[in-house]
């Protein structure tokens, strides 16, 4: 009982532009840690959260990561949302041999020995979403995104994928907007125009964060209905919808690996605990929260398995660990440090929830190096000995660049 606690770092922005999304993840981590402590902690030691605020400032992320690892000597860090924050801390985790659990869907094209990617890779979100829409008879595509790496990469992949499926270039419209774009009048008009060519059109939205609310408000005002031009989003979850009156948006779609509305006992339990923890009977849950739930449980299991918090041992123990997810089934950690997840397509409901209208039969394995990008299709990551490589080129048989 007198054993020193195990410290767990929580590296999410509590202020600045990203606080809007990340604060919730900090709370979820505190809840998970509290729960675990109620169960007696890990290895008979209590868990102690170390919360810092990187303030949506990317260099500060690196500084705080270093502080967590070097000063607080945390055993694992749960954190980051944007890709740039992950990129910023990555060298720090590699240098100081720390563990980072990254819970957000992202563009892929990365695999680090020190990072575990519990959010979706493009093949676990974007590709199935497009498959669903093709099945629904969509022939024209608007790829609308915020102008940064995740949408750019995702859209590159989707464009290649759609073309491989026989879609003409003229039937794809790509549009990028700055972060926080607030005036969507022209773009929604253009979408309407593009969609009124007599063939069924959908919008694949990688629009990020703050820009979504004005985007959906404008869709509603200009009367773009899901029955005419459905919008499928990869960054709009229950939290985002909580800020919008969804009645005019019923039927628009999102692709995730988890919805709050999923009816599983584990999810019901999770929601109950979450609401109790936040003392708010209306608090919603979302996909990145589930990713942290999975990642945390995987880490706990791996530490128990390794019998130590020593990073090298835990990293090795992580692969193959399998824990229940909240959408039904077990998610497993793959050798490429990504996990298996079900993919769900949901339609927005009037109450701000999603209703699952489609889901993959089984779980989809996260693919870090996209098969649809010429330079990455030959790469694989496998962190098991003896390969132990994040970017093994199966064509040349060499482990490229990074150690």
């Amino acid at each position: 009982a007198d054993k020193p606690p195990i410290k767990v770092g929580v590296l999410h922005s509590l202020s600045g532009t990203m606080a809007i999304s990340e604060t919730t993840l900090k709370d979820v981590m505190l809840m998970l840690i509290e729960e675990q402590n109620k169960k007696g902690g890990v290895l008979g030691r209590k868990l102690e959260p170390v919360v810092v605020d990187p303030a949506s400032n990317w260099p500060l992320f690196a500084e705080k990561a270093r502080e967590l690892l070097a000063v607080h000597k945390v055993s694992a860090v749960f954190g980051c949302w944007t890709s740039v924050s992950r990129k910023s801390v990555l060298p720090v985790f590699e240098e100081l041999n720390g563990l980072l659990f990254y819970p957000v869907q992202y563009e892929g094209e990365e695999s680090s020995r020190n990072v575990f990617y519990t959010g979706a890779a493009p093949n676990q979100q974007a590709i199935p979403a497009v498959d669903y829409l093709i099945e629904e008879g969509i022939e024209r595509w608007v790829l609308a995104g915020t102008d940064y790496v995740y949408p750019r990469t995702t859209n590159k992949i989707l464009e290649a994928y759609l073309k491989a499926k026989g879609v003409q270039a003229a039937d794809i419209m790509i549009d990028y907007t700055p972060f926080g774009h607030a005036d969507w009048q022209s773009i929604v008009r253009d979408i309407k125009a593009f969609g009124s060519a007599g063939r069924k059109t959908a919008v694949v939205s990688t629009i990020n964060g703050d820009a979504n609310v004005p985007f959906y408000k404008e869709l509603a005002n200009q009367g773009v209905k899901a029955t005419d031009i459905p919008v499928i989003a990869f960054s709009v979850g229950e939290e985002e919808l909580a800020g919008i009156d969804t009645k005019p948006l019923v039927g628009h779609l999102a692709a995730w690996n988890y919805f709050q509305s999923v009816e599983t006992p584990a999810n019901a339990e999770f929601i109950k605990k979450w609401r109790a923890f936040t003392r708010n009977a209306k608090r919603v849950t979302n996909d990145p929260m589930e990713a942290h739930f999975i990642g945390f449980n995987m880490w706990v299991q791996a530490v128990e398995k390794a019998g130590t918090t020593d990073p090298d041992k835990v990293i090795d123990a992580m692969i193959g660990v399998s824990v229940p997810n909240l959408s039904g089934g077990y998610s497993a950690m793959l050798p490429n440090h990504h996990i298996t997840k079900p993919v769900l397509i949901g339609e927005v409901q009037a109450d701000g929830q999603f209703e699952t209208v489609w889901r993959t039969r089984g779980l989809v394995a996260g693919d870090e190096w996209s098969d649809y990008l010429p330079d990455s299709k030959d790469l694989i990551a496998d962190w098991r000995a003896p390969l132990s490589c994040g970017n093994f080129n199966s064509a040349t048989g060499k482990c490229g660049g990074a150690k």
Partner: protein
């Protein structure tokens, strides 16, 4: 025998400052490298990195103060010069990665590879050479400042108008660098650096060397600024700050003076940025955000505008505060920081250094009052 009562004293403070900076440049690396980690005098590597970052900010603050404090040009876009210097250095560091990138491409940085770039854009050429990158660190911010300054000072854009167009400049650059099509890595910027001048960027020795280089750069910047402001040119600058048009009627070409310090200041900011990037490991468009430039101005105000020690103290103090508070009070630290800014304005109208100066000034005045019977006395 001129320059009022305060400057000579500040001078001494200035000398002390230079000595302290150079001392730090020596001492910190020694304490980091030569003192064993379990000794109480050991400076751990992350502290070296942190202090290096503060000193970069200090150099930026110094450059802001040179134009704002002494010439009345309130630049709300100095972060842009800082970031450009940073990008120049970042490009060099990217080129140093060579084929060690994820995709193993010999020339192209990873972000270009996965966005299907076929070849290195022309503006990346030459950045594999350190000397070229170092030149660009000075040239790019300097020339941009020259262009903007030439346009603005020539047509007599002053005051808030100038402030806001500098802000527009940094904001436009922010958006531009954001665009993936620009070829600077978009929002992610440039990261995952490996070597600088052949030394591993993560080695303790490199870190200490970078720190020492930053301290030296700060000391040099300080001496340069001091030389400028203490010369007659410095007095012309202050005259311009207080009564620009009157200065013109004395025959001074105000626009040349402004351009001169604006460009020097931009180069200093560029150097600060260049030293910053290898120490924090990333440069991305966020550095262009107007808020960053405003913060730099705020460091100056907190420390004491129109003094050279002030901005340095302000930058180090505010950023140290940020480091401590974001760790210790993650949920409420903004109250503390915001409160600090308000309190400084209200209670320390001339910043931290101003407080000390006011004390010196009062003492001097009391002495003077004691020796002269009547202040209104003029010789006649």
């Amino acid at each position: 025998m001129k320059g009022g009562l305060i400057l000579p004293r500040l001078d001494r403070a200035g000398l002390i400052f230079g000595a302290v900076a150079l001392g730090l440049a020596l001492l910190v690396p020694v304490l980091n490298l030569a003192v064993p980690p379990d000794s109480p005098f050991h400076v751990p590597p992350h502290v070296v990195a942190l202090m290096g970052k503060y000193l970069c900010y200090a150099l930026l603050a110094l450059s802001v103060d040179l134009v704002w404090g002494y010439c009345g040009i309130l630049s709300l876009g100095h972060g842009a010069f800082f970031a450009l210097g940073g990008y120049a250095m970042g490009m060099y560091l990217m080129r140093q990665i060579g084929p060690r990138g994820m995709y193993g491409h010999a020339e192209l940085p990873d972000f270009m590879v996965f966005l299907n770039w076929q070849e290195l854009p022309w503006y990346w050429l030459g950045f594999d050479q350190f000397w070229f990158a170092a030149l660009m660190v000075l040239l790019v911010p300097g020339l941009l400042a020259g262009l903007l300054g030439w346009l603005a000072f020539r047509s007599r854009v002053t005051g808030v108008y100038l402030s806001i167009i500098t802000q527009a400049m940094t904001f436009a650059l922010l958006l531009a660098f954001f665009r993936n099509d620009m070829g600077f890595g978009g929002n992610n910027g440039l990261t995952d650096f490996k070597d600088i001048l052949g030394a591993s960027i993560q080695a303790d020795g490199t870190r200490s060397a970078l720190f020492a280089a930053t301290a030296v750069a700060l000391a040099l910047g300080f001496v340069l600024c001091r030389w400028i402001v203490r010369s007659k040119l410095g007095r012309v600058l202050v005259a311009i700050r207080d009564a620009e048009s009157r200065t013109r009627f004395l025959g001074y070409r105000v626009e040349r003076y402004k351009l001169f310090v604006f460009m020097i200041s931009a180069c200093m900011a560029g150097v600060a940025g260049a030293l910053y990037v290898p120490q924090v490991g990333i440069i991305n468009p966020g550095e262009f955000s107007p808020a960053n430039s405003i913060e730099a101005v705020i460091w100056v105000a907190v420390g004491g505008r129109g003094t050279l020690v002030g901005p340095v103290i302000g930058a180090v103090l505010v950023n140290f505060g940020k480091t401590v508070l974001t760790g210790a009070l993650p949920e409420v630290w903004l109250f503390a920081l915001g409160g600090l800014f308000i309190a400084v304005t209200l209670f320390l109208p001339r910043g931290i250094v101003g407080l000390w100066m006011a004390y010196q000034h009062r003492r001097a005045e009391r002495q003077e009052a004691a020796t002269t019977t009547n202040p209104a006395l003029s010789e006649g």
